[in-house]
């Protein structure tokens, strides 16, 4: 049975109550885990017919067919992977909103992290180099300071 929570936080204080799941559903489930899996799946499978919607959001007839199929498979005890595989076999990778990790998606999955890694190393090296004792100490050069002061006609320091 699925628990529904009313959740109340006044910063750390927490209180909630538990209630019972709805009895009648367009897709009724006995098993809360299966229902959760069904909900997750229909929110990750893309409707091939529509603009850019999950089969859960779409009103298209095909979306309903695929929801029915998903419901049927989940009720028969199929795992999440099995349902996704079933859909991908028929509609291609397109149908799952999470693309598979393969060579053609490496840039997508790892590109930003590779950028981050290189940038962090680069910054560390740069700072280490700059910390040589010979480097100038001032934050702004004197000319810069003068220019700033003149342009902004300001007298307080810029800390």
């Amino acid at each position: 049975m699925i628990k529904f929570y009313r959740f109340c936080v006044a910063l750390i204080a927490v209180c909630w109550t538990v209630s019972v799941q709805a009895a009648i559903d367009a897709y009724p489930f006995e098993d809360a885990a299966k229902e959760a899996q069904f909900r997750e799946l229909i929110n990750e499978i893309r409707c091939p017919k529509c603009q850019n919607q999950t089969i859960s959001d779409s009103d298209a007839g095909l979306a309903k067919d695929l929801k029915d199929k998903t419901y049927e498979m989940v009720q028969q005890g199929a795992s999440k992977e099995q349902v996704i595989d079933y859909m991908v076999q028929r509609y291609g990778d397109f149908v799952h909103y999470q693309p598979p990790i393969k060579q053609s998606t490496w840039v997508l999955w790892f590109g930003p992290f590779v950028f981050l890694l290189i940038a962090v190393i680069g910054v560390a090296v740069m700072i280490a180099r700059k910390r040589s004792p010979k480097a100038a100490v001032g934050q702004l050069t004197d000319t810069e300071k003068a220019r700033l002061a003149e342009l902004m006609k300001k007298d307080d320091s810029n800390s």
Binding site: P48, K49, G61, L62, D65, L66, K69, V88, Q89, R90, Y91, G92, F94
Partner: protein, 176 residues
Amino acid sequence: MNKRIFLLLPLLAFIAVGVFFYSALFSDPRELESALVGKPVPEFQLPDLLNPQQQTDVDSFGEGPYLLNVWATWCPTCRAEHEFLNTLAAQGVKIVGLNYKDEPAKARRWLAQLGDPYVLNVLDYEGTFAIDLGVYGAPETFIVDRQGIIQYRHVGDVNARVWQEKLADLYRQAGE
């Protein structure tokens, strides 16, 4: 100086992406390639549209090459392509039909009125076979080769221009 190379990187990345943007302007983002290309036509057990007592399966399609055309009477584009399918059938192109989520009586009336280019029509009232085929709308046309392998899927109507530019060659190759 290697600082300059770093400074050039954003520009180079932008240009690379821009090239793809340019080519994407001329293609339809909604077009979806079939996941079944290179695979055999999936198994099914469904009634014949014209003779619903008769069950059909993949073997009923017979020897390739053939076109597997997904159609329905509720689909206006199907009506637009029907005339050309008749022409193709008259030229000796083998076409099998998949009547997709349609009312059988209406479909039979349509064939009687507009002519029947199909050697066989499968009645897929629930759309189950269509899901196995990865159909996402009608009309769709699959080119199946001699070995029963799907070689190509065309989404949208088959007309004289599409046939001459693309499908005719693929159909010929499927027969080799």
